[in-house]
């Protein structure tokens, strides 16, 4: 009788690391064996969909959807909206979409169950870490803007802002611990690969830059603000967000990770009047612009200009914009989140002329900054984002940098 063959651990493995490789800080929820395996399964599902299902959607587009459109209309597909609507008539796209949507919903249920069942204990833990600390400045008069309230981004019930009781951190903790499903480890042990990428970009491209006061708008739990605060320990960092649960959790997370030069402030990025003109040397946003509205984006850009000291810089890190040379199929796939994952502004933001928006906000065109940054992670444990060829259309840890010098 032949012996059954077990998987060989030494075989080349490409895919997400085990969730247990994540770092646990003092505000991190307790996660049981089966809760971890739910998250591992969903991370693998995302990987499977990207690596093994999307190629089938792509070939369906090339061999069936696009030729059928051409035959019916006597012309090629003209834009990404036509491409998406044509794809919606093909079962390969619909089945992939259905699986992707339910993976996202399963992720929210898995992450929220873990956090909700222990949320009183978590809130106490966070309160102990942040009690009487003036680094946490909440302001209950901050209204939740419609672009946040109307639909819950990434299908996270309650989004960043909903509080279930006084002192609650549920949605901050869920966003932190189960974000692993979406990033599949590509953002590293503390999900801070994007922040580390920003640090690396600034150190390489602006080697003489010595910021004293740094602001991040839309900081959530500080995934990208903390690496910046750590890299410039003599600087004073401020993170603002509209959501109290993410800010409370963020400060507790920062303190337990030993980062003490950061404040978390509840404020709407469109109105940062609590800070006087020319308060900051550096203003950062990271994967934030696509969650705004057109008017909010313009107002926030104007606020960044007002708040920068002469010679100060603003940097926005985002997924790549749609350009005429981006294949129509790729544009349609990148647009998926806008229509089916509650990112309503994603589509429009990625076609905006951001240079023009920066100029309209008062930045001189010759002072605009453009660049590329990729996720920086602990390579011993995590796959390197720069070396991962799996195309996930919108989730890959490779970003565009747009900014300006005041």
């Amino acid at each position: 009788m032949s012996q059954p063959q077990r998987n060989t651990p030494a075989a080349a493995y490409e895919g997400p690391p085990d969730y247990r490789a994540l770092g646990h800080h003092g505000a991190f929820p307790q996660v049981s064996h089966d809760e971890i395996e739910r998250i591992n399964f969903l991370a693998q599902m995302n990987r499977h969909l990207a690596a093994r299902v999307v190629p089938g959607v792509k070939s369906a587009y090339e061999t069936s959807v696009e030729p059928a459109f051409r035959k019916r209309h006597g012309r090629p597909i003209a834009d990404r909206h036509e491409a998406r609507k044509a794809l919606l008539e093909h079962p390969a796209f619909n089945l992939w979409s259905a699986l992707r949507r339910m993976t996202m919903e399963q992720r929210q249920q898995a992450g929220r169950w873990t956090v909700i069942r222990q949320r009183e204990a978590l809130a106490e833990k966070v309160a102990d870490l942040t009690r009487d600390d003036d680094a946490l400045q909440l302001d209950s008069s901050v209204a939740v803007p419609r672009y946040v309230a109307a639909v819950d981004h990434h299908c996270m019930p309650g989004s960043y802002h909903s509080e279930y009781f006084a002192g609650d951190v549920t949605n901050g903790a869920n966003y932190d611990h189960a974000g692993f499903v979406t990033t599949a480890g590509l953002l590293g042990r503390y999900n801070d690969g994007a922040g580390k990428a920003v640090v690396g970009w600034v150190q390489k491209n602006l080697p003489d830059f010595r910021p004293q006061d740094i602001l991040e708008i839309g900081c959530t739990v500080g995934h990208s603000a903390l690496p910046i605060a750590q890299a410039w320990p003599d600087a004073r960092m401020v993170g603002v967000d509209i959501g109290a649960p993410v800010l409370r959790y963020g400060l507790a997370r920062a303190k337990s990770l030993g980062v003490n030069n950061i404040r978390f402030v509840q404020a709407d990025g469109e109105d940062l009047s609590r800070f006087p003109d020319e308060s900051f040397d550096w203003i950062q946003t990271t994967m934030f612009l696509h969650e705004l509205s057109t008017t909010a984006l313009a107002r926030i850009f104007r606020e960044t200009r007002r708040l920068l000291r002469p010679g100060g810089i603003v940097l926005h890190v985002e997924q790549p914009q749609y350009t005429p040379d981006m294949p129509m199929f790729e544009q349609a796939m990148r647009d998926w989140d806008a229509f089916y994952n509650n990112e309503p502004f994603w589509s429009r933001m990625h076609e905006m002329d951001l240079d023009a928006e920066m100029v309209a906000a008062g930045f001189a065109r010759q002072n605009l900054i453009h660049g590329n940054a990729t996720g920086v992670v602990d390579r011993d444990l995590f796959p390197d984002a720069a070396e991962d060829d799996t195309e996930d259309y919108g989730r890959k840890a490779a970003w565009r940098v747009i900014g300006g010098i005041a």
């Binding site: 064996h33 919606l88 929220r112």
Partner: protein, 119 residues
């Protein structure tokens, strides 16, 4: 907070109308199936955890599992368990086959109407 509240909130619908990509009933069943697939994956990982721990503690060699040969009696029990399992999960196929053989099958509604009719 009660367990019922936690279950309801964990599964809550996000704000924003849900898109349906397939027939809504089909997609509902697919969602249930994928949730079951997730739980099966969790269970398999748990079994793997148990096997590894038992092996570490020298209570079991996993080689014993891989080379396990049930007795004749156990083989029959296990084969019957598989048959029962298959019949359960494929019950809908059995019922469709049976229905195809009953062209004059009548619905309960029609029976009710028949019985209520006054001649």
């Amino acid at each position: 907070m009660s367990v019922m509240d936690a279950l309801a909130e964990a599964g809550a619908k996000p704000a924003g109308k849900r898109p349906w990509f397939l027939d809504e009933e089909v997609e509902t069943i697919l969602a249930i199936t994928m949730a079951v697939a997730q739980e099966l994956a969790v269970t398999r990982q748990r079994a793997d955890t148990l096997e590894r721990l038992l092996e570490e503690k020298n209570l079991l060699s996993r080689e014993e599992i891989e080379t396990f040969r049930p007795s004749a009696e156990a083989s029959v029990e296990r084969a019957l368990a598989n048959q029962e399992y298959l019949a359960r999960i494929l019950r809908i196929v059995q019922q469709r086959n049976e229905a195809a053989k009953q062209p004059n099958d009548i619905s309960s509604e029609d029976v009710g109407n028949d019985l209520a009719a006054r001649s």
